[in-house]
């Protein structure tokens, strides 16, 4: 798994899936989206996206198809599958539960 991404483990996969929820994108576009959405806060090593995408492909949560990009390059577009969508929902709710719990503890302890 990516070594030094500056992103908590597991969240990268979640972010990628979330970004893909609104429609298929290729690798570079996914990286751009994450950049923009995080207000340049997450300085991800962009290449580490690819091991995560391979994992998603292997698990069958995304589906890849080769197309030509706007700039005329051959790129692979990733699309969230139905199983992936279900997985994403499960993970998001789990993440919400966990983070609100953590937040509550941190608040109470301060």
């Amino acid at each position: 798994m990516p070594r030094d991404t500056g992103v908590p483990t597991g969240t990268l996969v979640m972010m990628v899936m979330q970004v893909l929820r609104h429609g298929p994108l290729h690798g570079y576009a996914i990286a751009q989206r994450i950049h923009t959405l995080s207000n340049d806060e997450l300085r991800v090593e962009e290449g580490s996206l690819y091991p995560a995408l391979q994992k998603l492909l292997l698990d069958g949560w995304v589906h890849g198809t080769w197309t030509t990009s706007d700039s005329g390059r051959k790129v692979r577009e990733y699309k969230l599958t139905a199983a992936g969508r279900k997985q994403l929902d499960a993970r998001l709710s789990e993440y919400d539960r966990m983070s609100s719990a953590v937040r509550a503890v941190l608040k109470g302890a301060s």
Binding site: M1, P2, G27, Y28, A31, E45, E46, G47, S48, Y50, P51, Q54, K55, L58, D59, G60, W66, S71, R73, K74, V75, R76
Partner: protein, 840 residues
């Protein structure tokens, strides 16, 4: 998920290409491509996700292993040869063992079939009298059928060439599952009326070798013992009856009289020559059947002959145990223990040898291992590399060994003239044996040296000469060689002592003539007349120098023996002979006299020296009763002879008793004669009665037959012993050569300072003294305490503690070790000090 993973494995190259393409495109689109990270590393991480990294690593290890072996072909070849021999021998022996003892008999439902032997107080015979079999068949409630079988030498064809005819009950094939290849086999109730057409079934092998495999023989006529019979079928090649018998042809026992007119065989209560089998009724156990038959036998007592009237019964042994009685099973397991421990020792020796070879090889590759460690390879990775290489070697050794083993088993099977029914086809037992052998080899050859070299290599920068482990290995090899040599030497010694003079009787130019007179219905008077005429006819010939009659021919197939309560542990061969027997075979009479015509079984007996000494404690036994304590009529001892190994030539616990031949024995007697050639007897027999076909052979041939198995065992043990010895020598040679290479500098300095060559030799060889001494000592102890019992027992009777045996074996062992060690050491003495000092 698993399927997708497999799919990824298959399409890995394509996926990898796509990934690289994708990442390159991404990188080119970026403003700051540096932000992307290393494509090579990320590509590796991505393919890690696919989960096939271990496969890549194994492939790397294998490739590396192959490269290493290619670089040192002589090492590889040696290692594979050593392994192939070690594993191969084990597999070969196991294959034979498996075929002969473990695989179920190839007959129908052997587990519900029992063999029945005639027993009585003081009586034990492998066979039963034919009327007894029929009586039991009619009167028992535990057997659903009774099968009988008896083999006779008989004449075949117009020229009456000798073959084995098996007279069997007509349910024989049906019960044992023997199917015809051509025609038909017997079925229940073959025609036995006089005047019926005699029938004969051929064995597959006989049909092949004698009838040219001609399918047209069915329905044709052939002469069996001079009578015309119709060939009705040929059996399948895999059918050999219940005891791997090698009969050439089968004849229904119901038709005995058609082949031997006047035969009283089927009503003769005396002869116990029939193999009897019974099929258990469902739910009846072997011991229940035995008990039930025992009570049936009780009602027979009056009709049985003298010797077996006291508590007669039939001992039942199950087909599941190959019809072996418990005693035989114990003997066999002793042999199995012996052979398998020898095989295991060979494996240990080869593994120790290879192990030291691997250590040397690893030492030579120390630089490579250090380099790999320096480049960040973990210990486990290096260990795995090592083990992978060993696995390669072991697999190659296993494959070659499989063939070596098959070859060895084949050779032994052919040499021993093993029953045709033995199947050497590999089965699961063999596969398990092969794999476990390979695992042992892998563990000892691969893991131990690997672990050792890794744990020392990484620590020691300067390679200090450590040969402790190798010395232990040498000790192990010496131990193994010592065991094998001792065993081989003991067997050789035993064979040597089995020469003619040691048998205690003359066999040179002694011919044996067998005539089944009882088969022709010739009893008492007729038989006596026949023998008298024959004797006269033979004696009239210049080329004959003596004739005698005996119920059993010495060294022949049939025999009878007893064990007496007064001389426990002594197996007494019971002979029934005429007075000329002793003179003809030159068995010296110590005191007393031989038989006279007035002697009978009940009044006179001659005993051998051992029997007298063991039963009475002295040779002063003339006139005493025999046996010492016994009930009923006892014979008087009239003479003592020297011991003669008439039947059990290897046994050390044997003795003989001789009873006089009486008229009732004549129909079953054999004629022994000292003649120049067999034709003397043949013409004499023809002159007396041309209708009776005798079977003739030299006693020498019988001795050869009996010696064949021990000779083969000796050859095999000797071969294995030499093999172990040469492996050990190679090991010692290697170790000393290695020590020389480590100490070149030291030797140079010592010699420059004027050291004597003896002291330099001692410097090199002293490391060897302990391993050889301890190895030989432990080996000798293993033989004396572990193997002495199976070696000394039936059928080897070899004594490994015989001083000559021990001295010769140890001398050979030490001499071989010395030579192997001295060759490289002496070469070291010729080192030029000035050059040695300049060397690294």
């Amino acid at each position: 998920m698993i399927w997708r993973r497999l799919l990824y494995l298959i399409r890995r190259n394509k996926l990898d290409r796509e990934l690289v393409e994708e990442m390159t495109a991404h990188r080119e689109m970026m403003n700051e491509p540096k932000q992307f990270g290393s494509v090579a590393r990320l590509r590796e991480e991505s393919s890690d996700v696919w989960g096939w990294r271990w496969l890549d690593e194994i492939r790397q290890d294998l490739r590396h292993g192959f490269r290493v072996f290619k670089r040192s072909p002589s090492f590889t070849l040696t290692a594979i040869t050593v392994l192939a021999l070690g594993i191969g021998l084990n597999l070969g022996f196991f294959q034979l063992l498996n075929a002969a003892l473990l695989q179920p008999l190839r007959i129908r439902n052997p587990e519900t079939l029992v063999r029945l032997r005639q027993m009585a107080q003081g009586f034990d015979s492998s066979g039963v009298a034919f009327p007894v079999t029929q009586f039991v068949k009619e009167n028992n409630s535990v057997l659903s059928s009774v099968i009988t079988s008896q083999t006779e030498r008989t004449g075949w064809g117009e020229d009456a060439s000798e073959i084995d005819a098996n007279f069997v009950s007509s349910n024989y094939f049906e019960e044992l599952g023997g199917l015809p290849l051509l025609g038909r086999v017997f079925h229940e109730g073959e025609d036995d009326r006089s005047g019926a057409a005699p029938v004969v079934v051929l064995s597959y092998q006989f049909w092949q070798s004698r009838m040219g495999a001609n399918p047209g023989v069915i329905g044709s006529r052939a002469r069996v013992n001079g009578r015309v019979a119709t060939i009705i079928g040929v059996t399948e090649s895999s059918f050999h009856g219940p005891r791997n018998n090698r009969a050439h042809v089968w004849v229904p026992v119901e038709q005995t009289e058609l082949f031997y007119p006047g035969s009283r065989f089927r009503s003769d209560w005396k002869s116990t020559g029939v193999d009897m089998y019974g099929r258990l009724k469902p739910g009846v156990t072997v011991s229940a059947a035995q008990d039930a038959i025992r009570s049936v036998m009780a009602s027979l007592v009056d009709r049985l002959p003298e010797g077996i009237r006291k508590d007669p019964w039939l001992a039942a042994t199950s087909g599941a145990a190959h019809f072996r009685p418990p005693r035989e099973n114990r003997e066999i397991s002793a042999i199995i223990v012996l052979i398998s421990s020898l095989c295991l020792i060979v494996l240990v020796v080869t593994c120790a040898n290879l192990s030291s070879l691997m250590v040397a090889h690893a030492n030579a590759r120390a630089r490579e291992f250090q380099m790999r460690a320096a480049l960040g390879a973990g210990r486990l990775r290096v260990l795995r590399q090592f083990v992978t290489e060993c696995a390669l070697l072991v697999s190659a050794g296993l494959v070659v060994g499989w063939f070596v083993g098959y070859g060895a088993a084949r050779w032994i099977a052919v040499e021993t003239d093993a029953p045709l029914a033995i199947s050497l086809m590999p089965d699961w037992r063999l596969a398990v044996a092969a794999l476990s052998g390979a695992c042992v080899a892998l563990l000892t050859v691969g893991l131990i040296p690997a672990w050792r070299s890794i744990s020392t290599q990484q620590l020691t920068i300067n390679r200090s000469p450590r040969t402790g482990f190798q010395r232990v290995l040498i000790g192990v090899q010496v131990m193994g060689s010592c065991v094998l040599l001792l065993v081989a030497a003991a067997m050789t010694r035993k064979l040597q002592s089995m020469s003619e003079t040691d048998l205690g009787f003359e066999i040179n130019k002694i011919a044996v003539m067998e005539v089944a007179l009882e088969r022709y219905g010739m009893e008492s008077d007729a038989a006596a007349n026949y023998w008298r005429a024959l004797r006269e006819s033979v004696n009239a010939n210049q080329a004959a120098q003596g004739v005698a009659l005996s119920v059993f021919a010495p060294l022949g197939r049939g025999s009878s023996s007893s064990v007496y309560a007064d001389s426990p542990g002594l197996t007494v061969t019971d002979m029934t002979v005429d007075a000329d027997f002793f003179k003809l075979l030159r068995i010296p009479l110590l005191t007393g006299r031989t038989f006279e015509s007035s002697d009978t079984r009940e009044t006179a007996i001659i005993v051998s020296r051992s029997l007298a000494e063991r039963m009475y404690g002295s040779l002063e036994v003339l006139g005493k009763n025999f046996p010492k304590s016994g009930e009923g009529q006892r014979a008087t001892i009239i003479g003592i002879t020297e011991d003669a190994k008439l039947m059990r030539i290897t046994a050390t616990n044997g003795a003989e008793s001789y009873r006089p031949l009486t008229p009732s024995d004549l129909s079953g007697a054999r004629l022994l004669a000292k003649v120049e050639n067999l034709n003397v007897l043949r013409t004499a027999a023809h002159a007396v009665n041309p209708a009776i076909l005798p079977s003739l052979r030299w006693m020498h041939g019988d001795l050869e037959d009996k010696l064949q198995a021990p000779r083969l065992a000796r050859t095999a043990a000797g071969f294995v012993g030499l093999l172990a010895l040469s492996l050990t020598s190679i090991g010692i040679f290697g170790l000393i050569a290695y020590t020389v290479s480590l100490k070149t500098r030291e030797i140079g300095i010592r010699m420059a300072l004027g050291a004597q060559s003896q002291s330099v030799l001692w410097l090199l060889l002293r490391g060897l003294a302990w391993p050889v001494a301890i190895g030989a000592g432990v080996g000798a102890l293993v033989v004396f305490f572990g193997l002495a019992k199976p070696l000394a027992g039936d059928p080897l009777y070899a004594d490994p503690s015989d001083p000559m045996t021990v001295v010769v074996s140890l001398a050979v062992l030490v001499a071989a070790g010395m030579i192997a060690g001295c060759v490289p050491a002496v070469r070291a003495l010729r080192i030029d000090p000035s050059r040695a000092l300049r060397e690294d």
